[in-house]
Amino acid sequence: MIYLDYSATTPTGFEVLDTYNKTSKDFFGNPNSLHELGVKAKNLMNSATKQIAEILNVNEKEITYTGGATMSNNMALIGVAMHYHKKGKHIITSKLEHPSIYQICNYLETLGFEISYVNNDEDGLIDFDNLKELIRDDTILVSICAVNSELGIRQPLKMIRQIIKKENSQTIFHSDMTQAIGKVSISMHDVDLATFTAHKIYGPKGIGLLYKNSNVEISPILYGSGKNNLLNPGTPAVPLIVAFSKALRLATTDIEKRERFIERLNEKIVVALKKYNGVMINKTKYSIPHILNISLRNIKAETFLHALEEYEIYVSSNTACSSATLSSSVMAVYNDQVRASSTLRISLSHLTTTDEINKFIYYFDQIYCKLSGLHH
């Protein structure tokens, strides 16, 4: 098997799984319980949270565990909207977001919120002037992802924050950092709210977190019992939390070394695929090497995906969840219907080997020749 879809999800690390199993077995107590078993589980959970807080360089209280990135995004966007709707009903986001952000924005629109979509330049970078123009007195929230999931475009969050806060110091800045964590360095000082998930960093599925700066208030969208997790009440998922903490620690060591290695693999693929007339490389100077997007002229991306699958090579087309439609991110950057209608995403990891890339390039050639021949 050659897995090249690490941006969709990652295989859970052995050590992470081991932590999950041991915690489930030896620390099954409910951390909300007063007895020894509960206290033991709570202490472990607190140590796990402390480790995450140290890695993200934030206060432990600024961390809320969630069911994953989609839930974090919901809690952030709806939470801000509910809390500040009396101050304003204007929200800004980009054209390079994960679909979950758009779905939440659509919902908020039905409640009377106004959504603006900030432009980006031809390299995918947020258009700072346009952002400045869009921010108003009643803009309560700006949500811009740190790294785009399809093209891997990385946004300069620090600069974006400066622009936002200069125009309206009350506006809250949220960033979906799902595709950034473990791949590039990030700073929580750049944002007020941030979304993370474990399964993109070799952690288990079903656990994510929302970072909320302690100076920012949002309304909970979930209600229940539990004193320590006001935004997401109920019994904390201790084994998932501890496994998440471990995955985060493992994923954030040697980021630069891993990035340099992945950069080489990325280059290798780009060089090999450039020579095909029917292949367009959707890469700008802001794309991170972990994500490589290409467009196929005259070949349906989905057909190509299934052809690769025959050789146990796994990539994704457009995004994993929404295929056969136009890629909104490719559209936003290239404004080209043909380009956006058939895209493949090859996403790489430090686990990827040079041999795997060689094989991918070999089979890509075979399939390309066969499928492009059909159309002529």
Binding site: T23, V39, N43, S47, A48, V242, K246, R249
Partner: protein
């Protein structure tokens, strides 16, 4: 020129005969907090010098928590007392800095220099003006202050003065036993005692099942925060259940707290003398609660003969809270777990307890025997400031 961290002792410099003992202890304490970093520490009577290759920020951050340090500077040592040489070196240092205005502050411990500090400052200032273009002297609000200390064998030059935490090196004034309850006040009291050079051990009274493990864990984490200033901290945990229940069953309820405190004082004094501690320290503040009225303090204090130091006696609650926040114990202290002072609370505790009554009531219970028993079975935990190895390390 090598960048060096200098430490000024301040109040310590008034200690004449035993200053070497103080300095030895300070060096020991500094080495303790820096033990995992690559540093060298030397000292003479005026200054302590810390050499490190690449850990400046970390060293500075940790030194801010060491008692006995009044000022920290980062600068260079010039191995010369020749004024002309010093001038040249200062110019070299200043050329790396950006500034428009400056002033010179000189200090002269080398009294052989046949001039005054003011003259030295003027002289150097003039030289700087001559050698660096487009700058001015501003004695009120300069961009940069050039501090120069002309010493017997060398000269120190630095540009920043960071305020140290002050006080005396912990341990230079012997040992005290802190009555640590888990509330807001007692950790602050412990901190202030340590600041005056007292090495602290702590005593905590638990009453399971009336108090929970969480209450005990809370005290352990408070002790850990205090251990940061104390190198390590020995925590004595007394099982107080039997005594407390006996008191509750047999003694009129308005005197519950008074008698309970008398028992705690007795036990503390015994533990203190066993551990060679010379004083008891606690977080009592005049008038705060019924057991802290002057009459109560009098009635409770009579059971021990060693001094009871109450660093917070004259503090307002809000000031105590500010300090607790500063030393990062507040958030832990306000965690809502019952401790043994909050269980068995009478509706109307006596505000002016009579010593005679206390003595009379106490005769009802066999307290000497119970105290002997509690001390014999007490638990001792050594708390390290640094987490040795997390108990969950293999999982995380």
């Amino acid at each position: 020129m090598e960048k060096v961290i200098f430490i000024k002792y301040g109040e310590l410099s008034t200690k004449k005969d035993n200053i070497n003992f103080f300095l030895k202890k300070l060096k020991e304490n500094i080495l303790f907090v820096l033990d995992d970093l690559d540093v060298q520490v030397t000292y003479d009577l005026g200054r302590m010098f810390i050499y490190t290759k690449n850990n400046f920020d970390e060293v500075l951050a940790r030194l801010k928590n060491v008692f006995g340090i009044h000022e920290i500077n980062v600068g260079v040592v010039i191995d010369s007392t020749d004024i002309e040489e010093v001038k040249k070196e200062v110019i070299m240092l200043l050329k790396e800095k950006e500034f428009k205005t400056f002033k010179v502050e000189s200090k002269r411990t080398n009294k052989k220099l046949n001039t005054t500090s003011v003259e030295l400052s003027k002289n150097l200032g003039a030289y700087i003006l001559k050698n660096i273009a487009n700058i001015k002297v501003d004695v009120h609000k300069p961009d940069i202050v050039v501090y120069v200390e002309y010493r017997l064998n060398n000269t120190l030059v630095y540009f920043d003065a960071i305020k140290g935490i002050g006080g005396y090196p912990v341990g230079t004034l012997g040992k005290g036993l802190l009555m640590l309850s888990g509330g807001i006040d007692s950790p602050v009291a412990g901190y202030l005692a340590m600041k005056r050079g007292v090495k602290i051990e702590a005593i905590y009274f638990e009453s399971p099942p009336h108090t929970s493990i969480e209450a005990k864990n809370k005290v352990i984490s408070l002790a850990k925060k205090l251990a940061k200033y104390n190198n390590e901290l020995v925590l004595h945990i007394i099982n107080f259940t039997e005594i407390q229940e006996e008191i509750y069953k047999n003694i009129p309820h308005d005197y519950l707290i008074t008698i309970m405190r008398r028992m705690m004082y007795r036990i503390s004094a015994i533990i203190a003398s066993k551990r060679n501690a010379k004083i008891l320290v606690n977080g009592e503040s005049i008038g705060q609660v019924a057991s802290q009225t002057l009459t109560s303090m009098n009635a409770i204090g009579e059971v021990v003969s060693m001094p009871v130091i109450r660093p917070l006696a004259c503090f307002d609650k809000l000031d105590i809270i500010d300090l607790a926040k500063k030393i990062d114990t507040y958030e832990t202290s306000i965690l809502p777990f019952e401790d043994c002072c909050t269980i068995f609370v009478p509706k109307h505790p006596v505000i002016n307890p009579l010593k005679e009554k206390c003595r009379e009531y106490e005769k009802i219970i066999p307290y000497e025997e119970m105290i002997y028993h509690a001390i014999k079975n007490h638990e001792v935990i050594k708390i390290k400031a640094k987490e040795e190895s997390n108990e969950f390390k293999d999982l995380l």
